[in-house]
Amino acid sequence: MTPTLMWTFQGMCCVFQMMKSKADEEDYWNSSKFKAFTFDDEDDEFTKLKESRQAVNSICGLVEEEEDEDEVEKVSWSGEPVGSEGISRFLSDSETGSGASASSPCVSCFLLPVSCRYLVVGQGDGVQPARAELPQDRHDAVAVSLEKFRSLQEKLLLLDEAVGVHDGNVITAVLIYLKKSLSKEVLFRELESRQTALRHFIHYLTESKEQRLLLELYRALGRTEDEALLQYKEHLRITDENKRRDFLKSCVSLPFSPEDAGHVQDHYTLLERQIIIEATDRQAETGGKVEIFQKFPRRASILNMPLITTLYYCCFYHYAETEGTYSSPANIRQTFRIAEKQYFVTALAARAKLKAWHDVDALFTSRNWLGFTRKKSPLSFSRVADILSKNNAPVQVLQEYVGLVDDVELRVALAQKYKCHFIVISTYRDLKDRQLLLGYRGKVERGSEEERKIDELLSNPQIRWKN
């Protein structure tokens, strides 16, 4: 018997056996005297479970029997690497026999790689089968055997059995068959109560890019948010910015959660603005009239950048614009409800990058009602110093902010890190720590202003040193 025929035969046997066992089952219930004793609520569920389990068991029995009959088949399949002598030496005592008897008696028998089986058969006989025949044979085998499952009940039993053996490959194979042989409505309905199978199906559709069917499935299941997200994801495929913007606009009305709907709306608004800003700025750049674009040519287009990148861009190129323009940072801040801290960090980084220290200073300055100015920041001053130093701010600028750090230890550490010597010196003076000051004298340059300052302090009789 050739393997191919064998599998086809087995497939039919499965069906046959399944039907038979169902008949047996019915006989049993019909003749049973104990029927009245079943638990009312769970009766249906229980019966069905039992029924399919029996069917499955009987299939298992059948498969095992089959194997004993067909020894060739048993040696032929191997989940192990097959091939050269070197390998067989290691596997000789652990060769495990037929895969058909393995995890998935009923279902996976269709899916075992026939080619592998052939390889060994061929070897043993000293005959190489013609390769070209293999796939076709295999194909026929699968088609014939699966198509034997005609009634919905058989199909579902097949599916449940596949799920039961935990082999995703088999589950997907059955699903592919069910997809071909059941109407969408029926398939979707049945999948709803079969979570594992459903997830396999969704993954299969995702991988084979069957977008439309997947959307229908989500809709049928009432998974509206998944449906919306999947549709929204499509925008990534659209490269033309105007088409993408229009597509995003259509996404706004999709059934997102209220929170996500807001984000998608923002996405649309942002791209719409980016398109306008990009067009204007490109023109300005090529026109050569606007100084900032000459001094700092744009490295990339602003299209499809995140909101904060856009804000940074606008803080860089359009900082002074009045609130009325699309590209004004203030307008962006307001339109997209950007948090104070977030706005602050971005503006700070952009202005620091331009070395516009005056703007940086202005960001922090607030006037109280007496007209005095003082520095305020939604961000800790240590973080401010960090951002400034990363933008290569000079010591004069840095020390102003390092000096505002409240925590003395942190202030000294930062001052040392950024070489703000005067901050270190004045902090040590405030601490009245002569020893530390003396120690620091060795770290500053000889004959520098810092050294002079230290000497001046050390010789100041007014200071009451603590050590």
């Binding site: 192990e80 050269s84 652990s94 495990t96 393995a102 995890s103 790689p113 396999h200 990534l236």
Partner: protein, 616 residues
């Protein structure tokens, strides 16, 4: 530095057999297409292939030209094309395009697809749908086990993680079972198998099924104990910054298939070099498991020793010099080269880490693990996001926050998500949906509605259905019970005690003494207790699915036998180098030897990247 191993530590089995096995099978498959042929190799199979065969091996078996699969039209003139690929629909579609293009041009060629480690029915359906079923022959190369090192075996299946845990696709379960089966058939029989996690259980069952038929002959086992663990049992550990040398190198330079590419900043030349990182590298072998803070001291000591060894040649006579050159110099030069590489790597890593305020980052992580000053942590993460520091890093911290706090407060969740989308793009909506699905980043549920509903439903239906329901619920929102687990298993040592990283006292050293990896702690506890007894509360918090099987079939059950003390730990969904280091430490302490069998080497970046969906 050199930890004194317990004298009775057993020897590890020899894994080179596995390479030979895979190579022989590949050769056999190539010969199934006799004559000259061009070979197209999937990009992520190149490195694994490199480990077991070289170009000349392929050439010997009539492979003419080698190409990388790039999803572009091919320019091969050969009349036989062979494709060595993973069973992915996308790749198969590309092969179909190639074949159909040839057909349209009236070219007749022979095609063969070798799927590794196995083929999937869905792939063959593609061949059928594209009308080339029958024009292409297919085969399977059962290349499951790639030994990366003397104690690491890799399946090189990074997609296992996403497919199994996010998509809920069990396609790799059987692969896992087959891999275990192959290992078992060479190094078994196993006498004890422990495990935790849904996938572990399924893999165990798949393996049992595969073993069932061919009863093992009684023979000497080399590996007697197995522990299977799902990655989703412990997400916290792989999301932490790695600070042990090998892990840190992986975090920063990305070790690919046991090999790393050091750029010009490390080599201090204009070239990059690829270096194999394994126990063969004597310098690396001594520092790989060390906390990074010890590495510099060690390397400089090593450099001094080397200098002394070089200096020996001063005052040598000709004859001594001759022996020196022929016997020692080569080794010294080799050591010199390795030493300067690792010093270069350490320097480069130091630079990178100081630049991004590594200390502060670690402090935040440790606070999260400890459940201390959570508000400060949140504002640290917020600033991270505001400043558009690494998109991956921000997500990693958010996930850590969610896992350790059992979800974010709705207010925090909304605000952080909104700021994240503003900083890195709204298309990360898709990423957030994935993270929620997997339970990595979730909103706290008001009250314990979930549990109440579960138990009510549970009473209504019988046990099996209840189990299914629980599964359905846990897949909807897998609860993280990190805090409770941490208390039960004392994962976070008391912070007031000094921790000497040079003389580690427990596995916490791999995280600077701040945290004992949950995954490794579970392994330790189960081995100690010889099962799950006494860990009932822990397994309940981990959503169950634990098992312990003590089989016999001729296996040696004496607990003191060597095979019993060689333990195979199979990570389903990947493990980190830090976890491997922790297990090596545990092994030294307890006289075990651990072999790690993993679907892939992972780290926080890979884990998060697998969740990204903001690309086509």
């Amino acid at each position: 530095m050199a930890h004194s191993a317990r004298r009775d530590s057993p020897e590890l089995p020899d894994f080179s057999v596995l390479k030979r096995l895979a190579r022989d099978q590949l050769i056999y498959l190539l010969e199934q297409l006799p004559g000259k042929k061009d070979l197209f190799i999937e990009a992520d199979l190149m490195s694994p292939l490199d480990r077991i065969a070289n170009v000349s091996t392929l050439k010997q078996h009539e492979v003419d030209k080698l190409y990388k699969v790039e999803y572009k039209p091919v320019v091969s003139t050969s009349d036989q094309l062979c494709f060595l690929i993973r069973p992915r629909i996308q790749t198969v579609k590309w092969v179909c395009d190639v074949v159909n293009a040839d057909k349209a041009a009236g070219k007749f060629k022979r095609y063969k697809i070798i799927f590794t480690p196995q083929k999937f029915y869905a792939c063959e359906t593609v061949l059928e749908e594209q009308g080339i079923f029958g024009d292409v022959s297919t085969d399977e190369w059962a290349f499951y086990l790639l030994p990366l090192d003397e104690d690491i075996i890799n399946l090189e299946l990074p997609e296992f993680f996403r497919d199994n845990f996010l998509e809920g696709d069990q396609r790799w379960v059987r692969t896992g079972g087959s891999a275990l089966h192959l290992f078992h058939s060479i190094y078994g029989p196993f006498s004890k198998v422990y495990g935790i996690g849904r996938c572990s259980k399924m893999v165990y069952e798949s393996w049992r099924e595969q073993v069932k038929e061919g009863e093992q002959k009684a023979r000497q086992a080399e590996v007697g104990t197995v522990f299977l663990i799902d990655r989703d049992v412990d997400f916290v550990t792989p999301l932490c910054s790695q600070v042990v040398y090998e892990g840190l190198v992986d975090d920063i330079f990305r070790i690919k298939c046991g090999c790393v590419e050091f750029g010009p900043d490390v080599t201090s030349s204009d070239k990059s070099i690829k270096v194999m990182l394994n126990s063969q590298d004597k310098v690396f072998n001594e520092i790989r498991n060390e906390h990074f803070s010890n590495v510099f001291g060690f390397l400089s000591q090593k450099a001094r020793n080397l200098q002394t060894a070089y200096d020996k040649r001063r005052g040598m006579d000709i004859k001594q010099m001759k022996t020196f050159v022929s016997e020692e110099l080569k080794g010294l030069k080799q050591e010199h080269r390795l030493l300067s590489l690792h010093i270069g790597a350490s320097e480069s890593m130091m630079k990178k880490k100081t630049k991004q305020d590594f200390q502060e980052l670690l402090k935040t992580e440790h606070s999260l693990l400890e459940g201390f000053e959570i508000r400060e942590c949140i504002s640290f993460i917020e600033e991270h996001i505001n400043r558009q520091v690494s998109m991956i890093e921000s997500l990693r911290l958010l996930c850590l926050l969610s896992l350790t706090e059992n979800g974010l407060l709705p207010k925090d969740y909304r605000s952080l998500k909104a700021q994240y989308l503003q900083s890195y793009g709204v298309d990360h909506l898709l990423t957030f949906a994935n993270l929620k699905q997997l339970g990595l980043l979730v909103e706290q549920q008001p009250g314990e509605t979930l549990t109440v509903m579960e138990s009510k439903m549970g009473k209504l239906v019988n046990d099996k259905t209840a189990g299914k329901l629980t599964d359905a619920f846990s897949s909807l929102a897998k609860k993280s019970n990190f805090r409770a687990l941490s208390r039960r298993l004392s994962l976070v040592p008391k912070s007031d005690e000094e921790y000497d990283l040079r003389v580690p006292r427990d596995m916490a050293y791999i995280f600077s003494g701040a945290y004992i990896p949950l995954s490794c702690k579970l392994i330790e506890q189960v081995l100690e207790r010889d099962g799950w007894t006494g860990l009932e509360e822990v397994t309940r918090l981990l959503n169950g699915h634990e098992f312990a099987v003590t089989g016999s079939n001729g296996a040696d059950l004496r607990p003191q036998s060597d095979a019993q003390r060689i333990i195979l730990v199979m990570f389903l969904g990947g493990c980190t180098f830090s976890e491997i280091s922790a297990l090596r430490f545990l092994g030294r302490e307890r006289g075990y030897k651990f072999i790690v069998l993993t679907t892939a080497i992972t780290n926080s970046a890979r884990l998060i990247e697998a969740m990204l969906d903001n690309h086509v």
